[in-house]
Symmetry: C2
Subunit: 447 residues, 2 copies
Amino acid sequence: MNFDVIIIGAGYAGVTAALNLKRAGKKVLVLEARDRVGGRVYTKYLNDGNYVDLGGQWIGPTQDRIYALAKEFEVETFKTYDEGKSTLLYKDKVKAYKGLIPPLPVYALLSLDAAIKKINKLSKGIDLHAPWQSQNAKQYDSMTLQSWMESQMGSKVARSFFQVAAEAIFAAHPSEVSLLHALFYTKSGTDFDCLMNIKKGAQEERFVGGAQEVVNRMAALLADEIQLNSPVKRINQDSEGDDVIGEGFNYRARKVIVAVPPAMAARIEFNQPLPPNRDQLMQRMFMGSVVKCYAIYDKSFWRDKGLNGLCTTNNGLISVTFDNSPKDGSKGMLMGFVLANQAKAFMELTTSEREKAVINSFASFLGPDARNYEQYLEQAWAEEEWSRGCFAGIMPPGAWTSVGKTLREPVGNIHWAGTETSEIWNGYIDGAVRSGERVAKELMPLL
Amino acid sequence: MNFDVIIIGAGYAGVTAALNLKRAGKKVLVLEARDRVGGRVYTKYLNDGNYVDLGGQWIGPTQDRIYALAKEFEVETFKTYDEGKSTLLYKDKVKAYKGLIPPLPVYALLSLDAAIKKINKLSKGIDLHAPWQSQNAKQYDSMTLQSWMESQMGSKVARSFFQVAAEAIFAAHPSEVSLLHALFYTKSGTDFDCLMNIKKGAQEERFVGGAQEVVNRMAALLADEIQLNSPVKRINQDSEGDDVIGEGFNYRARKVIVAVPPAMAARIEFNQPLPPNRDQLMQRMFMGSVVKCYAIYDKSFWRDKGLNGLCTTNNGLISVTFDNSPKDGSKGMLMGFVLANQAKAFMELTTSEREKAVINSFASFLGPDARNYEQYLEQAWAEEEWSRGCFAGIMPPGAWTSVGKTLREPVGNIHWAGTETSEIWNGYIDGAVRSGERVAKELMPLL
């Protein structure tokens, strides 16, 4: 037996699990397909010393486990820039506004507010540990989030902005998402307001040095235990342990942690096919679609106009933007999301068409200054071989209540981690960390 | 270049494509993971010379392409047994009835009838070639079949029997199925009545010798071209052709046909990752769940009582049964489906628990005689390594309208077949045959 535990995937989940097990005296090996750690958290370092977060990037209140790691590994956080007015593009008109409430027709605002209050209320009833056992679980899982939105909001404008928020949260069209999953996810991340917002919300802070900084420092303590460029192709399981096999390697361990999303785990070959319901889960829990797009400017020109760079529209390629400039403000970095079905259409464009379309979108919010950019960068997560989508795996209708319970159920010596398996902050960095801690704890008595 | 075309999968789709291309003078190779041809059509031969169809088995009107093959390969068909009365188990009472209309409360029958008429009417508007371009496609794709059922049928009893029919058609819970997919599938197989019924319906006839007989005879003409026990693990594509690789083999061809369901195609490794929208399709189009269960009796004891063996209930493990006895009636064979979420629960039982539960279910329809069986057989398709579900791949909400167009779109030299890609009789044997014919035709000008 070469190892106590082999961990597949060196994202936050896998690295957290590995470090916790190593600290408990266990012999671990982490196998990572990419040439870096971090998984869906990916900080790209620019020539001028700056960096951009091309993947997960924010940290916010109640994300206690990633805050604890940031503290332990001495990575500072700083407030996401939100001083000044936000920008709304609605009916071809741009309006700046203060605070959280966009200048939409009152009937739309009332409808939107009622829907958000309602989804928060319904989400409170969800059993995060076993969503399929929640009251009304089958009913909620029988419909799409879109169907629910239509039943709740008479106002088409309200629905369209609710959709913007939902797509920014799920990176999926509301038609694709089970209402039960939406409620689960909402409660898992506190409430819908928290998921949407900067202040007191999931987007409140960023990491100095980028979101990959913490996991990089954790990985430095696992220098001998992490093997990069090593996609796992096959797991041969027997009662005593598992052989974990890829091109040029074949390691054996007593236990295996699969710390990649279910849709990716489906692509590993198993000598003993996984139980049918587990397999059916992996066939159903699909990855969201998002393209993260950056324009880098000499300075944050919008700040000079009293704008915070937070732009929203219900009718554009980019539906939300953020001011993602470095802490010291030495550059202007505008980041926008192309989400869900927009992302699917966008990915069929050529590189130069994409760049042009994004810059046009930025200019539609912030005027012609947005065209004077120094550099354009993007990350289309569905094109990434080892993620094939972002932010996270999502349950379509009917999945939670039929095969949801296989999400964390070990299969022989194989245990499951990854943000998709977390009860708290599912889909977020904090959820990934929690899943790594949980799976390490789960394994300790078995080693 | 070893071959003109390599075909992955020797089900009806792959074998049809291979035979058509061979007859056109092309050099083909069929690689099949299993030790037999037929795919989800699987005839098991019993010691006494009888056989049972453990997979797809029926043939019916307008399934012209499989009828043409049956004729060409001299495989006879015979009528599915339906003489005498059908059996309804409702509210713990068993009732025999003549004809198509079960003895349910009139309000339920009216509600059911209206819903079936409505789904037929809506389905007429679907563009089978491009469902995402149909009128109202986005609206239909935004909701589950379950949501639609609830909007249409006030009667809970009606809904429960509509669900029985829908599950027998899709092998999926109505909560999992996009309404757009349900409409597409309904039109693809003529109409909902045709999908449900024996007479003039999709279950009208069976094959003498079993449903695998035609494909077996076709495969006999491809004896040198079919390589069994050869799961394809990787496709290395370049502009001139593709290397198709598995354990112990590496073949090269100008073109490749992948004739396995999308959820299984996702598990092949590609040196050039597939386009993101194709990949996202494969993450979404999941396989249905069905267990096909048989009890074999000395004789069809139900026939002596004037029953046809066609039993239905809205409250049982087995929701529908058929008289699957051999043509000569020398044995009694009762076949029942465990469907969708029932299948998922059933697959967690032990072998003996399963057998007991099925026999109990048969006895609840047909009385204690059902307990005097000689043999019990079952096939749980979600447990089958190379199908991982049956009858077919199914679109959850939002998939057709976002990534549906990648279903048949070639990727470089890779072309797609399989019943999931058929416009007509999608999900059926006839659809598989049509997809094989279509893909062969599509390739001919390119070779």
